[in-house]
Point group: C2
Chain length 154, copies 2
DNA sequence: CGATTTTTGTTTCCATGGTGAACAATATCC
DNA sequence: GGATATTGTTCACCATGGAAACAAAAATCG
């Protein structure tokens, strides 16, 4: 008894998203997907870098000699997750793990020369990317959006 | 020549995030992670539903008899991605694939009785979740945030 | 000092969510 | 009727993440 159903009520035209448009999470996700795609089109030119990897590089660069555990805390992910990320960045020759002088368990993360120059290139592209995004808003709105996102994230 | 490095410059206290705090994407991601966790703690009670699956259910419920390809377009993912999602929802007994009366290639997606009642439960929890999130902002700010996110997503 | 506990990085296994390519069945278009 | 397009599916991937177990090395505490 494979009763065959009529097709979608709305054949043509746009379809309903139910209660989704009333939810912050829905719009948050859409904005992020849009931003991700824009990032990939622009900054991603440099060795297919992603927002996540760029963020890691930023924190490593801003805190020379950082241990992996500290990086994990800063990024709010598990240590086991950091291992893979560091593996990737090291495989690309952007960073190195150097043994710590004071704790033989720790690895101090450090940018390589290549890492420094590549990061500089990325930063230029990121600023351009950010500027293009910001162009969708007025300067005040961009400021306001940042404030609201921080407030929402607690 | 395993030169041992001194540990991180900033031993104690908070460390630097470099240029990240100046980027919309950074705050967008933080807000989303926070929201995701809250969703998991609240709505996730119902069979570990996720924002993604809930969104799919919403669209299916709001457009009875929807074909998978239409759903893929609405969610902006590939058809092959939809297959797994529909598999999951069907395995949980929330939806069924019914053969279309007019196109024997298509599957019309339809909520089951269980799907309808579970979705009703979820919707209550989602509204409570949304209310708790919104409580972090003033009503005007919530409205404003929605507007800005839509504008950013284009 | 010595024994226990904690921290650090790692490996392994797993789950999720996504893509692209190929494919058979079916519609659609000349 | 024959070429072309669409639909759902499978398969092999990739990326991101977590949990658990583990060895090595600190740190703590008697």
């Amino acid at each position: 008894m494979t009763a065959r159903r009529k097709p979608a009520i709305i054949e043509t035209g746009s379809l309903s998203y139910g209660m989704l448009p009333g939810l912050l999470g829905f719009h948050l996700r859409r904005a992020q997907v849009s931003l991700f795609k824009h990032f990939a089109r622009t900054v991603g030119q440099v060795a297919g870098i992603t927002p996540g990897l760029f963020g890691m590089l930023q924190v490593i660069a801003a805190n020379p000699g950082l241990a992996q555990s500290r990086l994990a805390e800063a990024m709010e992910v598990e240590r086991s997750t950091i291992v893979k990320v560091v593996d990737q960045l090291e495989a690309r020759g952007l960073i190195v793990r150097e043994p710590s002088a004071v704790d033989r368990r720790s690895h101090c993360l450090e940018l390589t020369e290549l890492g420094r120059s590549e990061l500089a290139r990325m930063e230029q592209l990121v600023l351009a990317h950010e500027a293009e995004l910001a162009a969708r808003l007025t300067p005040e709105d961009r400021q306001e959006l940042t404030r609201l996102l921080i407030q929402l994230a607690d």
